[in-house]
Symmetry: C2
Subunit: 469 residues, 2 copies
Amino acid sequence: MTPEEFRHYGHEVVDWIADYWANLEALPVSPDLRPGEIAARLPERAPETGEDFAAVLADLDRVITPGLTHWQHPAFFGYFPANTSGPSVLGDLVSAGMGVQGMLWSTSPAATEVETVVLDWLADLLDLPARFHSTGTGGGVIQDSASSAALVATLAALHRVSGGAWRRSGVRERYTVYTSTQAHSSIEKAARLAGIGDENVRLVEVDQDFAMRPDALRAALDADRVSGATPALVVATIGTTSTTAIDPLPAIGKICQEYGVWLHVDAAYAGAAAVCPELRWSHAGVEYADSYCFDPHKWLLTGFDCDAFWLADRAELVQTLTVLPEFLRNAATESGEVIDYRDWQVPLGRRFRALKLWFVLRWYGAEGLRAHIRRCVATAQRFAEWVRADERFEVVAPHPFSLVCFRLRGSDGPNEKLLRAVNATGRAFLTHTKVDGRYVLRLAVGAPSTEERHAAATWKLIQATVDTE
Amino acid sequence: MTPEEFRHYGHEVVDWIADYWANLEALPVSPDLRPGEIAARLPERAPETGEDFAAVLADLDRVITPGLTHWQHPAFFGYFPANTSGPSVLGDLVSAGMGVQGMLWSTSPAATEVETVVLDWLADLLDLPARFHSTGTGGGVIQDSASSAALVATLAALHRVSGGAWRRSGVRERYTVYTSTQAHSSIEKAARLAGIGDENVRLVEVDQDFAMRPDALRAALDADRVSGATPALVVATIGTTSTTAIDPLPAIGKICQEYGVWLHVDAAYAGAAAVCPELRWSHAGVEYADSYCFDPHKWLLTGFDCDAFWLADRAELVQTLTVLPEFLRNAATESGEVIDYRDWQVPLGRRFRALKLWFVLRWYGAEGLRAHIRRCVATAQRFAEWVRADERFEVVAPHPFSLVCFRLRGSDGPNEKLLRAVNATGRAFLTHTKVDGRYVLRLAVGAPSTEERHAAATWKLIQATVDTE
């Protein structure tokens, strides 16, 4: 495809996306499909000769769009949001067009330096501790996801606690990892991948607000020490996936210091809230963290994948992950004056993902980002009020951010039925969780196109669904 | 940013990229920069209020472009190519605009089904064994990179060899991994990350063509068995990073069968060559592989990240990686009729990366892809002829694909100096490796814009540089 053909078809694709966004509200949020229906619309083999671009574009409407759950739909309230925005898409587009590799500083200096600067900007926007700043011993990097951030934090913790022996000899003793019963499954997955084993992950009990109990953490650490295990890592969460509970970092942090255990803080969803000063109480105690991450690709208008991960001691992570073959040696690396982000992550290669974050921060500015967060939080708080005003329902957990967990009073069956019925209308999409063993509906506000009227219409839909059953 | 604003600025960005590509040849391939020069052009903090898009776009020319090594430049011959193309960029753009999550089938069925189908198409295009096809027990998935593919293959091998005990208890014995001295550093990194330890990776000796010696592999396996270690994984390479050597899969595969060891085949760069029937001899023995990967993002006109990874037994990988929390439970998953790709990879979240591959396969067709590979191979073969015709130089390794390894006869110093001088002109970019302990220049042809004249001009530049020194 020549540059001029790209220009022509590129305009068509941009128009297609603009139309998709403009018409999104009219589409069902999630599709009604049997497994295999989309695959059946595709030929069995790749074409032998090239096709017209018009045929490809037409298939977006024929094959793809009817097979999507529309995560950018204003009535998408499932999981956590994975929102994006115009400037994010355009930053990503520039990155794809440049097609440069940022694995080493020398393979495209701008890709590394813009990432370092933008992560410093972002740390300042969240008012994160100075120790995460690249001007000191720390620094930030973009990972694909909080899962990968948890994995590299786990590995760095093993490196530290073993005094470096882990790198050479592997996992040669029984290490333990601590997180709450409400933590994301990626913590357990990271421990498994690192060779620690599922049975060495301690799911620490939580209090009535679903936050980790520091006394239970201490008891678990003591029990493992007595049994001869080596505690390696504590993962605390700001904004758990089920209910957005906030683990008490000040108390947890002190325990980690006392026991000499790496503290990783997973704020995947709720970290974005810290751009608002009035929500920063949720981050109290973050100065104890050895590493911290949140996902701009969840709630900060930046498309997947963009997890922002910071460490207090970047040298430790580089020692953990570096392998330097001859074909990657270069003068800049040997000078010690540059960051080579390949040593901060699992893969070697990396895209220029900082561009989209840079575009987002500049287009919205700090005030624009705060306005987005505030709008989502206000909408969720209004929704919780509506739920509370209907005595058939109950709100089952604190909701300081933009997620509300609620249910019909009584048994699980009607709640499961309600969720299925609401989603089947295609007019809204919610997901569920279990809280204290009970089936609970989750409504998470996050898409930039979501206004209060969408939440209000969804609440009316929920009420009407209950009325007719 | 409203859809109409996106339409407006989107056209501007598309035009910017078309112009970037059209003018690329006139730019220096790599920049002449001191560490920190790009960072110094950025303000210290994110803006408080949003900026005009024009300011952002202008900074692409002021800040970013001068800080890039231009991987899509026709005179970029470094590392392996990381090429892209118009249809790939547009497929990625659609994916970014849709902003859907493909972690579960149910979170966007089309994202999963198109990926499964397109990976089947690709397996057919490469004439890979039927056991990798999704219609049987196998299947393909897009990983971000061959590094991550090596990691999940390592984990699946640990799961298998431990009879599942690894998942529960972690790495509780000494496992060993085998690959050649010429293998990519990601194999060692994967073993480290999985908790196997650097000292348990055996770098098996190679023959005069830098291919793994089966007898040396067998000897290493025997020695480890005697010492009480458990061999877990053999990684063979088709097209090593230094010289594109090809490990003898038929002999290696038989040994893996005999010893009951997982065989992963890393064809990151050279896999793309198998779209051409006349280059498929390089894949002889691939039917022994338990897993296989190659990178369409290297040499098949698809932008990073897009590693295509296949397994013979997909159930084994799912058992290795799955963790199922309540908030991800859904009817489709429980039916057992769908693929949830989150269980095939490290992260939970995933973009709709199959779109760009689908766009590429349809725009170029099988014939277009073969023409691209053939053009690159022909250009590299011509380059090798020119080198051979100059008695000051030697070609130091077989060059069946599009990489030529060569050097000035004699000591390393003049070769190091030559590489530095050539790259400093900005008119071409090559990288180096060491072969048999000697410093060697690598010229890899891969960018779609590279024509024979660019290789010819680069050869003239190399000769002239030697002449003047």
